[in-house]
């Protein structure tokens, strides 16, 4: 069982309290009607399926209830960092160097 740092509770807490919520940084288009079928398809279904550091969303569902973002390495299943929703996508190189 992983420990996940909730950026809102500011504490590493058991995975049992969290729920995965899909890939991060896929913003809903401001005007979906302006999108072509292909663009809308990509928004709906196309995901990076990364091998390695993956930007993803989690919710501290049995804790503070907040959605937040995380970078998790899909190979090692290790969290490189977590950050609040709305914060910019962190730079990977610096993270990996810190690893």
């Amino acid at each position: 069982m992983l420990l996940i740092q909730c950026p809102y509770c500011d504490e590493a807490l058991p995975e049992l309290e969290f729920a995965y919520a899909g890939e991060a940084h896929i913003a809903r288009p401001a005007d979906p009607s302006a999108l072509s079928d292909e663009e809308w398809r990509d928004f709906l279904f196309i995901r990076t399926n990364t091998r390695g550091p993956h930007f993803e969303r989690w919710r501290h569902i049995h804790g503070c209830g907040q959605f937040f973002n995380a970078v998790r390495d899909t190979v090692s299943d290790r969290f490189l960092m977590t950050y609040k929703a709305g914060e910019p996508r962190p730079v990977l190189n610096a993270l990996e160097a810190a690893e």
Partner: protein, 188 residues
């Protein structure tokens, strides 16, 4: 009131620790920006308590004010006082976006007491309940077996635990099984 039904009729169990379903108390779920001084002042005015920091709870007499998330607080009070608190909150925050909802009936409160109280919970919750890690003033929201729960130290050797009403039987049974004589571990 004779028509007030407790979820388990005030069930209790005594093993190496005591487990009791408490009489329903007043409980308000407050949604708002807790970092807003106006909100903090309104909560202080309504409860007489200072909004605690992250993951904290403050208690005095029969009232308590707890941090549930950056935008959610829980207010506890005698049930008879609930209406007044709601009125006061609404008055203090008139025109200010917030949501205060009576959730007294949505949840049940259990009290674990005795020297083994921490032991009982440590069997069911995945968080560190040692005195060093879980002290008075901490409000812990986590899982108890398969359900969500919140708990805090409500006194010396006494833990208050709240969970949804519909799972009261499940949680009580688990607490009772965990508190049964012969199952002491004494590991803290």
């Amino acid at each position: 009131m004779s028509d007030v039904a407790q979820a388990l009729g005030g069930a209790s169990f005594t093993g190496f620790a005591r487990v009791e379903e408490l009489a329903p108390q007043g409980m308000i779920s407050f949604r708002g920006d807790l970092s807003d001084p106006v909100v903090q002042e309104a909560l202080r005015a309504a409860t007489g308590l200072e909004m605690p920091a992250q993951r904290g709870i403050v208690q005095a007499e029969e009232r308590a004010l707890g941090w549930m998330s950056p935008d959610e607080a829980i207010l506890l009070m005698p049930h008879a006082a609930l209406g007044g608190v709601l009125v006061e909150l609404r008055a203090a925050l008139a025109g200010q976006h917030h949501l205060a909802v009576d959730v007294s009936d949505a949840r049940v409160t259990f009290r674990l007491s005795g020297p083994g109280a921490r032991e009982v919970l440590a069997k069911l919750a995945p968080v560190d309940l040692s005195p060093a890690a879980f002290a008075e003033g901490e409000l812990r929201r986590t899982r108890v077996a398969q359900v969500a729960a919140a708990f805090w130290l409500s006194g010396a050797e006494e833990i208050a635990l709240i969970c949804f009403r519909s799972v009261a039987r499940y949680v009580f049974d688990l607490l009772a099984v965990s508190a049964a004589e012969g199952g002491e571990v004494r590991a803290f």
